[in-house]
């Protein structure tokens, strides 16, 4: 079934070519008149203060970690969702209870993160 992906490969080549042509064309066509103020950092016309590579709030990091945890759990739901309809006809409640246990654990983790203030942004 790898042949199914051939059109995507063709499209990828096409997309990269399109992006490259855009970058190259504007590089070739545009005028080049650099001045010191054009090349400096834009800070609304005020003299730039310090470097932009500074520390930022830990909240962003926390959101990223929570995302990874939840996203991995969501991935586990996909195979289950695909076989759900077929299995529910043959095995009935088994597939339901199995998933309820999983979502229950996921939900506990969610409540824990909420109670600990992980989801609160202030």
């Amino acid at each position: 079934m790898l042949i199914d992906y051939l059109p995507i490969l063709l499209l990828l080549v096409f997309a990269i070519g399109f992006a490259a042509i855009n970058l190259a064309l504007s590089h070739l066509l545009g005028p080049k008149k650099p001045t010191p103020s054009k090349l400096s950092v834009y800070e609304s016309g005020v003299q730039p203060v310090g470097n932009a590579r500074q520390r930022f709030t830990i909240r962003f990091d926390l959101i990223a970690m929570l995302f990874i945890i939840f996203d991995i759990e969501v991935v586990f739901l996909y195979p289950w969702a695909i076989v759900f309809k077929k299995f529910s006809e043959s095995s009935g409640y088994f597939i339901l209870i199995e998933m309820l246990v999983f979502i229950g654990i996921l939900f506990l983790g969610y409540i824990y993160a909420w109670k600990k203030g992980g989801l609160t942004w202030d």
Binding site: N22, L39, F56, V74, F107
Partner: protein, 394 residues
Amino acid sequence: MELPLHVLIISSLIKILIVVHVLLIGVMAMILAERKVSGWIQDRHGPNRVGPWGILQPIADGIKFFLKEDLIPDHVDKPIYVLAPAILLVPALIICAVVPFGSSITVAGYEIPLQIADINIGILYVLAITSLGVYGVVLGAWASNNKYSLLGGLRSSAQMISYELTLGLAIIGVLMLSGSLSLREIAIAQGANIWNWNFLIHLPAFLAFTTAAFAETNRLPFDLAEAEQELVAGYHTEYSSMKFAMYFMAEYMNMIVGSAVAVTLFLGGWHLFGLENLGGPFWSGVISIAIFSAKTALFLFVFIWVRWTLPRFRYDQLMNLGWKFLLPVALTSIVVTAIVWIGTQSKLLVGVCNVVAASVVVAIVASTLAMRREPEQIERQEPSFMKGSSSGRT
């Protein structure tokens, strides 16, 4: 159904050329439509000087972008700075590969599906490639070495990954009742009967998905990443000429493809009251494309409409909405769909119970948040800046 290799390659190339051009023209049309609709909503004309009815305005803009100075400031990380717009644009272009924009068309005896690639993991591919777009934003923001860009990029990435969870969860209910990841099969499973379309069966999930799609594209109620009043242009502050235009194009392409995916998943794809079966094997394909385009255009209009109607969220409101409302609503929708389907096998009951359960969840979360808010509000009753500004003005 299996096509010979040379037919596959030729038909794919033709489809790619057509789809990419439709996307690019769609982007231009969207820019014009956005400005026209915003004019209409704000009771003014919008662009009306370039060509009749301002119709050539996007082309004039495009030429202007090419002819502008391609400026690379001194302080940036040059390779990443140049590559970042491409890293955003390429995923935006290749997502459309799995979207079925019509049923199938018979040309020269071959039945060609109206979709660039019908892969069996369809929707996973969409989610995976969507996530890649975050890299373009973050790398561009980091490479710009500008404080506005950095803040915009951080906000945007945190927002995009937060709403990606909702995006992923909201789809699961649909997958359960379709039993497939292929977008074509999901569309076929919905069929021509409007009561069978997923937006009625999974209404809360549909609303959560739509909201998440707005957030993913950084559109107005969620455009904190480029909040003009605080961050100039956000992550693309330091970008000019075509590099800026590439960010812009990628945003509009994401919007178009996002609408197309939403139409496929929730609004029945190319189906409409059996109209798609009229005509022969050739014309039915053309009609199905027209139906699909019309639905996508309708969805895109809602995008514009919302942008010019709603004000911007505050960042904590944005995170609250994503993590405390949409996530539990999407999760509940999965559980309710599973329980009701196993118990009754009735799509009508699944739809009704989904709405009831989602309302209950929203009510619980809202009351929890309201209880927490009270002490905060007492503290903030008299912000100090109010006194300062009023005395300054008088």
